[in-house]
Amino acid sequence: MIQPFTPEPIRFVAEDGTPVQPLPERFTPDLLRELHTLMLRAREFDRKLITLLRQGRTTFYAQSSGMEATQVGLARSIRVGHDWVWPYYRDHTLGLAMGVPMAELLSQCLGTNSDSSRGRQMPHHFAAQAQNFVSISSSIASQVPPAAGNAMAQKYLGVDELTVCTFGDGATSEGDWHAGLNMAGAAKAPAMFVCENNQWAISTSIREQTASETIHIKAKAYGMPGYYVDGNDLVAVMEVCGYVADQIRAGHGPALVECLTYRVGSHSNADADAEKHYRTREEVEEWLGRDPITRVEKLLEHLGHPVSAEERAALIASTHREVDEQVLKAEATGQPDWRIMFEDVYADLPGHLRDQEAFLRAEQTGQAGQGGQA
């Protein structure tokens, strides 16, 4: 049994890689290596996407470097394709760890014809039906009330499913966040709300965000347990999220999990030089010292199964190769044409959109006459 509302974040592995409490049996070296691979690949994905940005091949990217333990650990508590996920816009590591194909992520970031959301959203806002990974919205916390509704529907339908809803610390200030948690609490819906508290909402620190000491204690107000986890400790995140998911599936109602972590990079390419403007190099250095990937490597070393430098280098190289290959493949599919603007607005194309489509068709084919948009 894992206790909610602990004063300190729940932790299984110290920063130097030594367990601070007995390691659950399932964390075999093989599993840890598998998860380490996922985390490392996600980080290299970040690096490659920054390169793509610099090359002008995509226009926006929100890194998750530093948050890999939170997202990979959470992914492992989700029954992929069975449970439902309402993510936020920094969740590509969660998506990758849930098996969303890298090709799909890249296609979305590049806005190519292979993008399942068809080039309509800005980069890094993907959706994946096969994984029940619902489309990401830019508007902060707007996914929270729908996640509550998704969970209410699961309860209504009597299905054995869980809804997972993620958000950053900034989202917890939004009205939608409170509305969603309150609704889920009142309905006792099977929803797991996960705050990826990376401590900065662009340039606003958690201390400016709320006078509340922590995020997880807000759960009390909504009649649900709140769990406080070291979000850079993969084992802790997996253990707590796994336990919470089981509790919810057993019919105990929703819960809030706060994963205390840190985004070591900028918010996006919009603030590429974060240290210069709103946080100190010392703070970043301090958190780099708590790096979640390094911690797993130290744990593996402690267990007598170290990841060699060669293995690491090979993993990095293969990720870079895969990204390069997938980017070329995605780019080869071309950009969606203008027709995608009019599709999927409604189930069927209404008359006014038919007229506007005809206008644009004429314009695009050089046959536009005089007058307005039909």
Partner: protein
């Protein structure tokens, strides 16, 4: 007594022995249709503030919780963001939610959910996820409700691609449009003109029928002027047309019924026939949906016009409490606009 204080549930009309039609009022049409759709499809759920045991502040959902149980008809926390947002999530997961917002004026806290989630999830996911859902809400003035119980905010929603926006003015249309809304695949904002809830009575057939969106109704045919409106103002259009008929003017009265999509063809062919159009709604004038109708008329049938398109709208003030009736367009103001067009 204000409309919000009315507590008596509506009584059903007895069916005509030969035709099977019954005369009911608009709110009863709403209640019946929800019940019939819930009967037809177990995925349909109904929720909002006070919709359960109380049956809604206007009694639009009276008796439904008793009939379908608290699992399918339930009260929610007092939060429009929750109600709309939860409807989106339910729809994405496969239910057919009907969400009631107690007054259209209260949709503000749910606005983000309507425009960011409900309206866009199909588009932004490339059709991978969709939100077929209905938001029902009483709107418009004439019930001495002041500005937070009388506004006509439809233009906020007609301005958002991805939403369908409808407003019936008769029991027949309320049934037909609501059936279309519940059975459709898109999010629908279903405005109910609250001053017509009990004032608008009419026949409804016993059989299942729908009124498709984007088909206006010609309430009466005429040759001199097209008088076009929707929702709560429709009885005033009829009164104005009666007054003008007494003066020998033949007015064609058109009820748009749905704004997105709207029946451009019906409107344009009418104006081509009559050469004059007066557009009526009670929403404030600036960015009023009828501005779009006027624009399309002048753009597409300019040569048919023998007078500028007239518009009668609400004033660009918050809705006043005491001067309720002065604010609303009313038959006199409508007649005056028609006379201006006729004498141009």
């Amino acid at each position: 007594m204000t409309a919000t204080q009315e507590r008596t549930p509506t009584q059903g009309g007895a069916p005509d022995a030969e035709t099977g039609t019954r005369t009911i009022n608009l709110i009863q049409a709403v209640t019946e249709t929800i019940a019939e759709e819930m009967e037809r499809d177990s995925r349909v759920v109904l929720f909002g503030e006070d919709v359960g045991a109380r049956g809604g502040v206007f009694m639009a959902t009276a008796g439904l919780q008793e009939r379908f149980g608290p699992r399918r008809v339930f009260d929610t926390p007092l939060s429009e963001a929750s109600i709309v947002g939860a409807a989106v999530g339910m729809a994405v997961r496969g239910l057919r939610p009907i969400a009631e917002i107690q007054f259209a004026d209260y949709m503000g806290p749910g606005f983000d959910q309507i425009i960011s989630q409900a309206a866009k999830i199909r588009y932004r996911s490339g059709g991978q996820f969709t939100a077929p859902m209905v938001i029902r809400t009483p709107s418009g003035g004439g019930v001495k409700g002041g500005h937070h119980h009388s506004q006509s905010p439809e233009s906020y929603y007609t301005h958002t691609p991805g939403l369908k926006v409808v407003m019936p003015s008769t029991p027949y249309d309320a049934k037909g449009l609501l059936r279309s809304a519940v059975r459709g695949e898109d999010p629908v904002i279903f405005f109910e003109p609250k001053r017509l809830y009990r004032a608008a009575k009419g026949e409804v057939p016993a059989h299942d029928y729908v009124v498709r969106f984007g088909e206006a109704a010609v309430r009466r045919e005429g040759t001199d002027l097209s008088l076009i409106g929707y929702g709560g103002v429709m009885p005033d259009l009829e009164k104005a047309a009666d007054a003008l008929a007494a003066e020998g003017v033949s007015v064609e009265v058109i009820d748009l019924r749905s704004l997105v999509p709207w029946d451009k063809d019906r409107v344009l062919s009418s104006v081509e026939k009559t050469g004059r159009a007066v557009l009526v709604s009670e929403a404030p004038r600036i960015s009023n949906f009828m501005g779009e109708v006027a624009y399309v008329i002048q753009e597409q049938v300019f040569d048919s016009l023998t007078a500028p398109v007239g518009q009668v709208a609400g004033f660009d003030t918050p809705y006043p409490y005491v001067q309720d009736k002065v604010y609303l367009p009313g038959p006199n103001r409508i007649v005056a606009a028609c006379v201006r067009a006729l004498n141009y």
